[in-house]
Amino acid sequence: MSSNAMRALAGIAVVVVAVVLLVVLQSGSDDSSKTTKGLTTIVIKNGKPVGGIAQLTYNKGEEVRFKVDSDVSDEVHMHGYDIMKDVEAGGSVSFDFPATIEGVFEAELEGRKEQILELTVNP
């Protein structure tokens, strides 16, 4: 390859890096703002979560808090953290635990294999 072509390629590479860095700097600012605050209540009607699967997002170390109001009797299983709690038909059950493990986790009505929550824990 000629040295001109090489210089052109190096130039392109530099431009690409510059654009990429710009993207990085732009996106760096809005990282930690969208975590869940307060107590979320997941309402179960006919064995399904009203409004679809609930989405909760926390940073590691925060306290995960949610409540399940259910019209069916089942066991709520918070996978990954492996917390299981029974819920009566018409009853409710509360979860309150520290977000110690990073990743994406499901909570299910174990008997029905119905996912009710997607929990995201960011580092």
Binding site: A10, I53, K113, N122
Partner: protein
């Protein structure tokens, strides 16, 4: 739309999407490495010769001799038998049953890794090869002559393995759905499939010969053997030896259908990575379309996923073939067909990188289960405890998200560079003129950048 959950039976902790800044860094390193690769182009091929040297004769005799080979075969048969038995007789809970984790994590993901590091280790453990060889030997002794076989149609090449590879992944992530929900494959179905595959494989071995079928037809031999070509260890003329890394890959794709095998690997891993993230919306709208046509939920979901696996296979193939078409337009190029087969091996590192990027964390988590409670209580009865580890769990804290991200992006970048290296090396071997060789590699560079950036993109939207 969040009413179409796609759940894996085994995964309790899923990876976070890689953050934007890491995506950007990964992509820019890939581009810089690529431009750098173009400028340092070496002029003489370095990987076309294996430089094979035998290891100590005693080591070869010990490892390749009949006692060790027979022992390995017996272990392979025992483990396959255990997987089938546990699947049929054990618990229906996929995560508490030995079968799924053993077949789809320990073996399916473990052997590619072992093969790269240690060579073709699946070959001695291959349960069907062991049965085939045993049956052949028994036949020869009893009948006083060697069994006669049909001639394997050369044109078929590795196509049976390519189709089989898609079928294996299809079974895992497409078939296991019911009522419009992907609930994951049941241990019973996996065990039944293993029985069916065993019958099919033994029949093919009887028809074409055990070793012949392992070379090009038997899915696991072909698939794991492909990754073994990247590493340094190999067997030649009954001797264990060491060779230049990557050099054995250059002679891998001489059999028809080889490109299809490596493309199938990239495509199926892509589908698994995309179904919950990048292509989630597209999958949902296809699913709704099929549902509107009056198909049952399960049928509609399976049809949707099947269609998309095939579409991604076609897409990956198209990108590669466009690159090959481009190369064939450069002066002094060999024919399109020769180039298509001659550069297929350059995608093996990409396929391996995709595997690492998508399944690294799953492998680390699930192997903890494999070697604790699944070993002590393979049927998941809750009352067995063979080794005193039945009550252990998976420690999901062994990997931080940062560690997972760096491994994922690192794997893709390294795979990209290795793929480029192999492609450039092949071009220098095949184009007499080094300028033309370099020119042809703009095309393969584009192909590699496309695959690597697609891989990064899939990671960056892992959870939609």
């Amino acid at each position: 739309m969040s009413w179409l959950p796609v759940a894996h039976a085994l995964v309790a902790r899923k990876d976070l999407a890689i953050p934007t800044w890491l995506f950007a860094w990964g992509a820019s390193i890939v581009l810089i490495a690529s431009f750098f690769a173009l400028s340092i182009a070496w002029r003489k091929p370095r990987f076309e010769q294996e430089g094979w040297r035998p290891l100590r004769a005693g080591l070869s005799r010990a490892l390749l001799g009949p006692p060790v080979q027979a022992l390995c075969g017996a272990i392979g048969i025992f483990l396959l038998g255990l997987a089938i038995y546990a699947g049929l007789d054990g618990t229906e809970a996929p995560d508490r049953n030995f079968t799924l984790t053993f077949l789809y994590v320990t073996a399916w993901l473990g052997f590619p890794l072992l093969s790269v590091l240690l060579g073709d280790v699946f070959r001695p453990f291959n349960p069907w090869r062991a049965v085939g060889r045993l049956t052949g030997a028994a036949f020869t002794t009893l009948a006083g002559q060697r069994p006669a076989h049909l001639r394997y149609p050369e044109r078929l090449g590795r196509w049976p393995a390519a189709i089989g590879l898609i079928a294996v992944v299809w079974l895992e992530i497409v078939y296991g759905s019911s009522g419009g929900v992907a609930v994951g494959l049941s241990p019973q179905s996996a065990a039944t499939a293993a029985v069916v595959y065993s019958g099919y494989t033994l029949a093919m071995m009887a028809l074409f010969g055990t070793e012949r079928w392992c070379q090009t037809g038997e899915v696991f031999s072909v698939y794991f053997g492909m990754f073994a070509r990247l590493g340094s260890f190999g067997v030649k003329g009954g001797r264990l030896g060491i060779r230049r890394p990557l050099s054995a890959a250059t002679s891998w794709a001489t059999v028809p259908g080889s490109a299809a095998v490596v493309i199938a690997s990239i495509a199926t891993t892509s589908f698994d990575g995309a179904q919950e993230g990048a292509f989630k919306g597209a999958l949902e709208s296809t699913f709704e379309r099929f549902s509107d046509w009056g198909l049952g939920l399960t049928t509609a979901l399976r049809l949707t996923d099947t269609l998309w696996i095939l579409l991604i296979f076609a897409g990956v193939a198209a990108v590669y073939l466009i690159g090959v078409r481009g190369m064939s337009s450069v002066g002094g190029a060999p024919s399109f067909a020769k180039l298509r087969d001659g550069f297929a091996h350059t995608l093996i590192p990409i396929a391996f990188a995709y595997l690492v990027a998508h399944y690294f964390s799953l492998f680390v988590f699930q192997e903890q289960a494999q070697f604790t409670y699944l070993l002590s209580d393979p049927l998941g009865t809750g009352t067995t405890d063979l080794f005193g580890t039945a009550s252990s769990g998976i420690d999901f804290q062994v990997l931080s998200s940062n560690a997972i991200w760096y491994v994922q992006v690192g794997a893709l970048v390294v795979g990209h560079v290795v793929g480029l290296t192999l492609a450039h090396d092949r071009a220098t071997a095949w184009w007499g003129d080094y300028r033309q060789a370099a020119r042809s590699q703009y095309w393969m560079l584009a192909v590699m950048v496309a695959f690597t950036c697609f891989g990064l993109y899939l990671l960056s939207v892992a959870n939609g």
